[in-house]
């Protein structure tokens, strides 16, 4: 088995999930300059709803192929998360849009705690396990092992990211989003409904989060009301690493963070002769983040943002 190839595969799969969640952070930041800290919890909600539906279907003995049951779960999670994203923006962020920047940041953290506790009340403190309904096939690739689920995660992420970039760069809606990001007041004067665009941004980001949450729970075989916290933190770091507000940056940052973590955990012990162990994997990842921010304060692909007039 080729260790390096295996570590790269591990890292890329992990990174593509980070990237998908990071897109949600970066889209909202791009338009509102707001860090939506509740985004990690929306990912968690996606995983929980999907698992609840899948669990109910499996429990009821529905005789369908596992992949179809899983898709039903995903299809239930996406609209729930979209509605949640929409509602959070209406309740917690829109009333504070012209308030000092600290205020929406606090409501964001508040929303995140509320969502965690709501999930805890609905689904309890137990871990919820993903039923073994997905194909468990393993394949050999350049001397490393890759599973069906890993391939599915990589492909889905790439397709979704490509679709999002096309949407933002090529469609009328995307143009309206970019216009709102650049100058919301001017965009409004040009006939763009700024409120609708902002709502749509939240809804889109939440849909991506639902898919990411579903994939994480399928990948690790579990979901828990607390899972959104660490995932959100990592994805946020990925967005900052790539340059927050920049779509390509979020993807690059996510993939890079995944690979750095994987290589760090895999090699740091051997490279330092046991002086630093694999528990420094997060330290390693965040050290890279600090280094990048010192050298390029706006992130890898971030551009220097001119202060808004």
């Amino acid at each position: 088995m080729d260790i390096l190839t295996q570590q790269l595969i591990n890292g890329l799969v992990l990174g593509s999930v980070y990237a998908l969640v990071a897109l949600g952070y970066t889209m909202v930041y791009g338009i509102l300059e707001l860090i939506n800290f509740a985004h990690g919890e929306i990912t968690m909600m996606g995983a929980m709803v999907a698992l609840a539906v899948i669990g109910a279907l499996v429990g009821a003995g529905v005789d369908l192929p596992g992949v179809v049951i899983a898709l039903f779960g995903l299809l239930a999670a996406i609209p729930v998360c979209m509605a949640l994203g929409f509602a959070i923006e209406r309740v917690a962020y829109r009333p504070l849009r012209h308030a000092p920047r600290l205020a929406p940041l606090i409501t964001a953290i508040g929303m995140s705690i509320v969502l965690q506790n709501v999930a805890m009340l609905i689904w309890g403190r137990q871990y919820i396990s993903f039923p073994p309904i997905l194909p468990q096939g393993r394949h050999q690739l350049l001397g490393a092992t890759i599973t069906d689920v890993q391939i599915a995660i990589l492909c889905t992420s790439v397709i979704l990211m490509a679709a999002l970039v096309t949407l933002v760069k090529r469609t009328r809606l995307g143009r309206a989003m970019r216009a709102t990001a650049q100058a919301p007041q001017i965009a409004g004067l040009m006939g763009v409904n700024v409120n609708t665009i902002i709502s749509l941004t939240f809804v889109l980001g939440s849909a991506l989060a639902a898919v990411a949450g579903f994939m994480v729970s399928a990948y690790y075989g579990l979901a828990h009301y607390y899972m959104g916290f660490m995932l959100g933190l990592k994805a946020f770091s990925a967005a900052v690493l790539g340059g927050i507000g920049n779509l390509a940056g979020a993807m690059l940052g996510g993939l890079l963070l995944g690979v750095i973590e994987s290589l760090g955990a895999g090699y740091i012990g051997d490279l330092t002769g046991g002086f630093l162990g694999s528990h420094y994997q997060d330290v390693f990842a965040f050290f890279v983040l600090i280094l990048v921010l010192v050298l390029r304060p706006s992130g890898l692909l971030g551009e220097r943002v001119v202060e808004r007039a």
């Binding site: 396990s129 393993r138 994987s262 162990g277 694999s278 528990h279």
Partner: protein, 383 residues
Amino acid sequence: MKSSRRLALAALVAAVGLIGCGQQDAGNTAGEGIVQIGSVAPLTGPQAHLGKDNDNGAQLAVDEINAAGLKLGGKPLRLQLVSEDDQADPRTATIIAQKLVDGGVAGVIGHLNSGATIPASKIYHDAGIPQISPSATAIAYTAQGFKTAFRVMTNDEQQGKALGQYAVAKLGAKQIAIIDDRTAYGQGLADEFEKAAKAAGAEIVAHEFTSDRSTDFLAILTSIKAKHPQLLFYGGMDAQAGPMAKQMQQLGLNVQLLGGDGVETAEFVKLAGTDAEGVVASSPGLPLASMPGGTAFKEKFTARYGQIQTYAPYAYDAVYVMVEAMRRADSAEPGNYLAELPKTDYQGVTGHIRFDAKGDVAGGSVTLYQAKSGTWQVLETVH
């Protein structure tokens, strides 16, 4: 719009006022014959399922004692369990400990995690409040020389030794890899295991680390796979061991997985699914079915709270041990009944409980289990 906002504000003010009153009430009644006992465990976060389990075990004992109508100093004893959440976090644990001490609890059942129990024990010691942990197994907890620190569970030294000898002698492992979660519990157990396995003649080919919040172990498992061990020991909890067992299969790392009491839970089998098959894990004490009062306890507990996770019977016994000491001293004052705790000689659900000079349970045993078709089956008990 404006009036609805004002209404909401009024409701908020009223709610805050009510909470304030509620707290005051608790403080007042505490003086009138009600004895408060703290119960601390992670009630939120990744180990909340285990924390709630402990809390339920303690609550069950408290309710039974209240129903039994025990008298102290001629007055009927009314126990009240003050449940607190330390989030399995050492810093939060000390804040909670101070809060309980300031609130005037007569004793503390907890905490759940060794990492949280150890820093908190200093605060209880300084305040002279007896503490019985149902589940902290790290050696350091009772090695501090605190006269207030007790536990009703076998410590990691005994457990790690049993596991290390079992891995080499019975499972025939010569090259062993270890992962621990860097908590006081996981690290302590892994270190004791490593010592015992080395002493029994095995070679430790890798020692990797993770955290008690991780779910991704592919990177360290890949690096372990390259070192070709015959056995992988995990020092940590079920929430990590479950996905770990799955990811081992995913990578084609087909070696025996061995764990401690954090792994020997119903949750692990559920999380790892078919990949749990064959995993061996230990638990301090006897299996629930072989405990003197195990079956009866299981019936009572499941009727009220559902499935037992792990430590609930220990939390239940810990409350009884504390109240027994109060009964002998005929007082719920910490200063009076603390002297009675070392003399404990109590036949509990989990076994016969006596304390040694350090506050550890004397003559503890360790039982090894193997996961077979979805449940843990007893392999053997080591004394």
